[in-house]
């Protein structure tokens, strides 16, 4: 099956006001071409679920990296993340009441997505016990198991997962270089529509089958990253 579409076609499939998982880490390894098309569209009001708020590098030609671009453009209604320290704009927008922010521990965030994608009813984790995380909208209970306290965290799903992979074939099989995979491997399991943007589209078989990190069965569409002149 050929899942290749253009970045513009991919962005058109993302509904206005959608809830979207964004892969990548602090603005690195994001689906740049599709984000560029979203920025050009009229769409907004998104709820983003991501590790962080992207990154702002003051003084650079393109200071806003990854999600920070969507936030800066006013397209994000709510951000569910673990760390927003590299994007000071998040704090400002939240204080001005222009954006909602929910913070989750990074390990809980990962497992909450995994549980949704694996058909489970949530996660019991010791992380966050006795902290403000207990008051979180996604913390749905507290249990003592074998004498130890755990928080019950809700599964996290989204309408769309938008991730980046280093090498992707037309079937959507993905290989990630270096440290770039982070949450992408679970985000693709817990969304109704999965769009994977490739740094390079490769022939089927270029990535050895045992080295495929995300099986193509999870991926609906594949987009090639291209620089624009």
């Amino acid at each position: 099956m050929n899942k290749l579409i253009s970045a513009k076609e991919a962005a058109a499939k993302i509904p206005d006001g959608a809830t979207i998982f964004i892969g990548g880490y602090m603005g690195e390894s994001s689906a740049k071409a599709v984000i560029r098309e979203l920025l050009r569209s009229e769409k907004g009001g998104f709820t983003l679920l991501a590790n962080d708020g992207g990154q702002v590098r003051k003084g650079e030609a393109e200071p806003y990296l990854g999600i920070a671009q969507l936030i800066h453009a006013g397209k994000v209604r709510k951000l569910i993340a673990t760390h927003v320290g590299l994007n000071p704009e998040v704090s400002e927008l939240v204080n001005q009441g222009k954006m909602e922010l929910v913070l989750l521990p990074q390990g809980s965030f990962a497992e909450m997505i995994r549980s949704a994608g694996a058909g489970l009813g949530g996660v019991l984790t010791p992380t966050g016990v006795g902290t403000e995380v207990e008051k979180n909208e996604f913390t749905i209970g507290k249990q003592v198991i074998q004498g130890k306290e755990y928080l019950l965290m809700a599964p996290l799903r989204a309408d769309v997962a938008l991730i980046n992979g280093t090498k992707i074939d037309k079937n959507g099989n993905i290989w990630y270089r270096g440290s770039t995979r982070t949450f992408s491997t679970v985000m693709v399991t817990a969304a109704d529509l999965v769009i994977a943007e490739a740094n390079r589209i490769v022939p089927v078989g270029e990535v050895a089958q045992e080295n495929i990190m995300t099986p193509g069965v999870y991926v609906d569409y594949v987009v090639a990253w291209e620089e624009e002149s």
């Binding site: 880490y25 602090m26 603005g27 690195e28 390894s29 590790n51 962080d52 990154q55 993340a81 673990t82 760390h83 927003v84 320290g85 590299l86 000071p88 998040v90 704090s91 939240v94 922010l101 913070l103 521990p105 990074q106 390990g107 809980s108 990962a110 497992e111 995994r114 984790t125 010791p126 992380t127 966050g128 016990v129 006795g130 902290t131 403000e132 995380v133 280093t166 270089r177 270096g178 440290s179 770039t180 995979r181 982070t182 949450f183 992408s184 491997t185 679970v186 990190m213």
Partner: protein
């Protein structure tokens, strides 16, 4: 001691807590100085929560911009025997008891072993990132920090800032001394001889219990 000397002094003492073969996560700032002071014959595996096991120095040869970065999105590299994981495995490693030690800074620590280091209400929001999972999961949690903040105690009876986690800190190392958290409270195990015990207690809100074998700061 100036600030830099103080940081190195604390980092050097913290390094003595690491054993050969330990899997270790280092927080930002002072903890990153610890590897400089590893005792002879001690090799540790440095883990970063965004999926790096076996972090090593970045060189011209191994740098891989935009593909290999640490938890703060700074350029990173692995040693030859290191590997990458996804975030699921990275945090499973912590919570599952496979991380021997985490060394991190803190704004406050209290005598029940609770710590607060992720948010100051009213100030810019950063978020907890991986800190809550780290301190809950690591087998040994070592806090390294200055003993006071502009003269105000940071080692308290109860933290005043929102908790990062409760009852998880094993040891606190400052420029004044080395303290262990136990059932009864905070035990002063070692002290920096440039301070008197009274001065150290005065800079500490929690009541210090003096160890039976209280001795000068090991270096």
């Amino acid at each position: 001691m100036n600030k830099s000397e103080l940081k190195h002094y604390i980092a050097k003492r913290a390094a003595l807590e690491l054993k050969d073969g330990d899997v270790v996560n280092l927080g930002i700032g002072m903890p990153t100085l610890v590897p400089e002071y590893l005792p002879e014959g001690v090799t540790v595996t440095l883990q970063a929560e965004n999926g790096l096991i076996g972090c090593g120095p970045v060189t011209e040869e191994n740098r891989d911009p935009h593909y290999v970065y640490d938890a703060g999105a700074n350029p990173a590299a692995l040693t030859a025997d290191g590997c990458f994981t996804d975030s699921i495995s990275s945090f499973g490693l912590m919570r599952g008891g496979h991380l021997d030690v985490t060394i991190l800074g803190s704004l406050e620590v209290d005598e029940t072993g609770s710590l607060s280091n992720w948010i100051i209400p009213g100030q810019r929001v950063f978020g907890m990132g991986g800190a809550m999972d780290l301190v809950v999961g690591a087998k040994k949690v070592i806090v390294v920090m200055e003993h006071t903040n502009h003269g105000q105690p940071k080692i308290l009876k109860r933290c005043t800032l929102p908790y990062t986690a409760v009852h998880c800190v094993d040891m606190v190392i400052t420029e004044m001394g080395v303290m262990e958290i136990c059932e009864d409270g905070i035990v002063l195990k070692e002290y920096n001889p440039v301070y008197t015990i009274e001065e150290i207690q005065h800079a500490t809100q929690a009541q210090l219990i003096l160890a039976e074998d209280l001795k000068p700061y090991a270096t």
